[in-house]
């Protein structure tokens, strides 16, 4: 098992180095000049100012030197300074990361409960009316564009009904709770501020549901298929034949059997969720990594772009690593096969 985990971690580290290299290379060959992109019309016409800006950003160095400098700093935990915010990228990630994490985890929980739960229900009612309706809905969840869903959600629930706010993590101008975890829901509870907790929840509802929608669809369909497969297994039939109560068969045998493939799909679903945050955060004015990344890309803020990519890669690779390891623990055949 130790060897299995070591090899997986080694592969993850290689992937990480690869992703830095690719991102750095891609941003370097992007058309556009990051130095003049930051300058006003008049200043960009002054060669001295342009040269000074290029030197300030390190763009006057050959590309391989820029990369080596970046790697050297990276090893020391320095991701460089963002051109747009003026802050170290690591500091920005620390500021915006928790907002995205709170949103993504909430979406994940919603998707797991709703998607998983409805998937089981769909399987248990296979080919019935409920199953057909749920399958149709899941198809909708997977195929409806996020931006459209977000616009409908904000239009109905924020603009018309005014049940939930359409933007921000708290009401505009509200003071954020003292930072402990960076999750406003948790930090407000730790501060004993129930009103702020409610406010934070209300702000989370719409973006989290929109973000969760495709995952709900995906998990519903996958859980349904997996549960149906497990239901047809010999050991389940044997358990039923032994006269065990159906609820016990499902709880003790079916769900357990369905868990292994489900863990894998959660990893995949999480990746699509990360991609979705960029769009959802933009629409809901959610001050997270997605908004930060969008802005960095629009402004050719190369250090921020590489920093965000690295950050997302770390999360993605970690999730996959944990998934692999969990998978190996739950199903020993996988670790021996590898």
């Amino acid at each position: 098992m130790t060897r299995f985990i070591t090899r997986r971690i080694g592969a993850a580290l290689l992937l990480l180095v690869g992703s830095v290299l690719v991102t750095f290379g891609l941003t370097a060959i992007l058309p556009g000049d990051a130095a003049t992109a930051r300058l006003s019309e008049q200043a960009a016409s002054d060669p001295e100012i342009v040269a000074a800006m290029r030197a300030e950003l390190g763009l006057d160095q050959p590309l391989y030197k820029q990369f080596l400098i970046y790697l050297g700093n990276l090893v020391q935990g320095d991701l460089g300074d963002s051109v747009q915010s003026g802050n170290p990228v690591l500091e920005d990630l620390g500021q915006f990361g928790p907002a995205s994490a709170e949103l993504a985890l909430t979406a994940m929980i919603i998707a797991l409960i709703v998607g998983g739960g409805l998937g089981v229900l769909s399987a248990l009612r296979a080919n019935g009316v409920i199953d057909n309706v749920l399958r149709a809905l899941s198809l909708g969840g997977v195929s409806v564009p996020l931006f459209w869903l977000a616009l409908i959600a904000t239009s109905v629930f924020a603009t018309q009904l005014r049940w939930f706010p359409s933007s921000g993590r708290l009401d505009a101008g509200a003071y954020a709770p003292d930072t402990v975890t960076g999750f406003y829901t948790i930090d407000s509870l730790l501060a004993g501020d129930i009103a702020m907790f409610g406010e934070a929840i209300r702000h989370l509802v719409l973006p989290a549901i929109v973000l969760a929608a495709p995952m709900i669809g995906l998990l519903l369909r996958f859980t349904r298929t997996t549960v149906l497969e497990v239901l047809s297994q010999e050991y389940v039939r044997a358990a039923e034949a032994k006269g065990l109560r159906r609820s016990r068969v499902i709880g003790g045998h079916v769900l357990r059997g369905a868990l292994v493939p489900l863990i894998t799909v959660i990893g995949t679903a999480f990746a699509s969720l990360l991609a979705g945050t960029v769009l959802v955060e933009q629409i809901f004015v959610w001050p997270g990594i997605g908004s930060y990344a969008y802005r960095a890309a629009s402004n050719l803020d190369l250090t921020a772009i590489v920093g965000v990519t690295l950050f997302v890669s770390v999360i993605y690779i970690t999730v996959n690593l944990v998934t692999d390891i969990l998978y190996g623990i739950i199903d020993p055949r996988i670790r021996y096969a590898s």
């Binding site: 008049q42 933007s167 505009a172 101008g173 409610g198 629409i283 802005r295």
Partner: protein, 534 residues
């Protein structure tokens, strides 16, 4: 069926939690509107698509930065009530100039204190202006050819190398806002000649205010929101709102926010979006002319294009375009740009200078070029201004020119990429916009040969002697009437050459809630926060 029971329980609990959260909601509109009417803190929430980089006046040259810093830092002079023709006293209570407009003397108002309680004197003015000049930032060009010196504690002198009638307009810029010398120096700032390398006060100025304006910075974030609080010791009339939250939001989000009441003011809605607000009694839409203007460049450098550099091609475009149809696309409130100087500035051309579409002349010009002409038109695809994207205009221009035998290949690209070609002067044709750097017609000399935009259009110095002599003359002219005549002449000649083709000025729209009342677009500062609600 334990599973189904627990699932149902979970679902009910979830729905209950969401419903409770919804029922307990009080929209931000309630909070801000209520706050604005109670005795505690009145908060104003403004949505704006951010182009915010810094809160250091000497380094700032962006629209959002200008909005913020105009509220935080006083300048020597200012403009008010949307009038961009008459500079008004601010830090300087009066000023004079010599006959040839090379020396300006400003008398500083007594009793102005910075937000930390220290007095504002001539030393602070000299320090602030020199710091801008020496930091070599985006706004340093404002001080080009100018030098500032202290006459006594309450008098400063600005000297220009050449006659410069634009100085009073230039010193209204938030970039030239007056900072406290003591506070900035104590935090790493300097106005020395090597300030570009040695000044380290930006971080301090991004978190604290060192100004004397009606507001102070409570928190500054270039990505999410920036919060201002009223300066209790402000020397002028106190602003209406105690606290102002400026939030970064896309135009779509702004529309939702203003409708749901989570924002009080929205700044970036296009005409389609504001049209959807018609009939909504809780919303006020204020529209006025924007000094921004859209234009085409037809590259005059034969090395870049042997087509666009010909007078025949310029004539074909001049007579081939239907400017009324282009203006229609810009929506309600947009206006024709008959010359490069916008209609709010001295010497702007009127409709009598309009070029009438003449397809016969245009076709003849194309035939003179041998027909079957293909040119490329570059423009930024990912930015909009006043709610307008460049794409539809480029398409309409291409459609109109195709009718006279010119094939226009559209080359949209992200602004960062498009800007590179534009600034390098390698675009055959380009569709761009210009926002004034300072509210004076002199800013539009940048379109002439050898100047910033002229060079981008491949128009080198010395290629249009008649035009260039007018440019030199108007820069030195102090008599307002003569200046006006010269600007008219300058633009008429510009139109004859046709290297720059002015298209239109969009309308500027500010949408606000009825609680706040009408908020006017400010042609100089985009938004004068301290004037809202007064």
């Amino acid at each position: 069926m334990r599973i189904r029971t627990s699932m149902a329980a979970a679902a009910v609990a979830g729905i209950a939690a969401v419903t409770l959260a919804a029922c307990s909601s009080s929209t931000a509109s309630d909070s801000s509107a209520a706050a604005s009417s109670d005795d505690e803190t009145s908060t104003l929430v403004i949505d704006k698509s951010f182009d915010l980089v810094t809160a250091d006046p000497a380094r700032m040259f962006e629209t959002t930065g200008g909005i913020v810093l105009h509220a935080v830092y006083d300048s020597l002079l200012t403009f008010a009530d949307g009038d961009s023709t008459t500079p008004l006293p601010s830090v300087a209570e009066s000023w004079t100039s010599n006959d040839d407009a090379t020396v300006y003397t400003f008398t500083i108002r007594e009793g102005i204190t910075f937000s930390d309680g220290t007095d504002l004197t001539a030393d602070d003015v000299v320090f602030s202006l020199n710091r801008v000049k020496n930091i070599q930032g985006n706004g340093s060009f404002l001080m080009e050819g100018l030098s500032v010196s202290k006459v006594d504690d309450m008098t400063v002198e600005i000297t220009s190398e050449t006659s410069n009638t634009a100085v009073p307009a230039i010193v209204t810029s938030p970039t030239l806002g007056i900072v406290s010398e003591d506070a900035v120096e104590a935090n790493g700032g300097t106005d020395a000649e090597d300030a570009a390398d040695t000044d380290a006060a930006e971080e301090y100025l991004n978190s604290e205010s060192a100004g004397s304006g009606p507001y102070m910075i409570e928190s500054f974030d270039t990505t999410t929101e920036t919060v201002l609080v009223a300066n209790p010791d402000y020397w002028g009339d106190a602003p209406e709102y105690d606290r102002v939250v400026l939030r970064n939001a896309t135009a779509d989000a702004q529309l939702m926010d203003i409708q749901s009441g989570t924002a009080d003011v929205a700044l970036d809605l296009g005409s389609d979006q504001t049209a959807s607000l018609e009939g909504n009694d809780s919303i006020v839409v204020s529209t006025s002319a924007s000094p921004t203007f859209f234009f085409l460049i037809l590259n005059a450098d034969s090395g870049v294009s042997d087509v666009t550099s010909t007078q025949e091609f310029r004539d074909a475009v001049k007579y081939g375009l239907d400017l009324d149809a282009i203006l229609e696309l810009a929506g309600e409130g947009a206006e024709h740009a008959y010359g490069v100087v916008p209609n709010t500035f001295l010497g702007a051309l009127g409709s009598d200078s309009a070029v009438e579409q003449d397809l016969d002349k245009a076709t003849a010009a194309v035939e003179a070029l041998g027909g079957d002409i293909t040119v490329s038109l570059e423009y930024p695809s990912d930015i909009s201004s006043n709610g307008l994207d460049f794409g539809p205009f480029a398409e309409r221009i291409a459609a109109q020119l195709s009718e006279i035998g010119i094939t226009v290949e559209l080359v949209p690209s992200p602004v960062a990429t498009a800007l590179e070609n534009y600034r390098a002067g390698t675009e055959e044709m380009g569709l761009w916009l210009w926002n004034p750097d300072y509210p004076d017609s002199a800013d539009y000399l940048a379109f002439g040969p050898g100047r910033t935009v002229g060079l981008r259009a491949g128009w080198a110095e010395g290629t249009a002697a008649d035009l260039e002599s007018i440019m030199t003359e108007v820069a030195a002219e102090t008599d307002a009437d003569t200046r006006e005549e010269l600007y008219v002449e300058y633009q008429e000649l510009m139109n004859e050459y046709g290297v720059i083709v002015p298209l239109f000025q969009p309308s500027a729209t500010v949408v606000s809630t009825s609680t706040v009342g009408a908020v006017d677009y400010d042609p100089v500062f985009s938004l004068d926060i301290a004037a809202i609600g007064k």
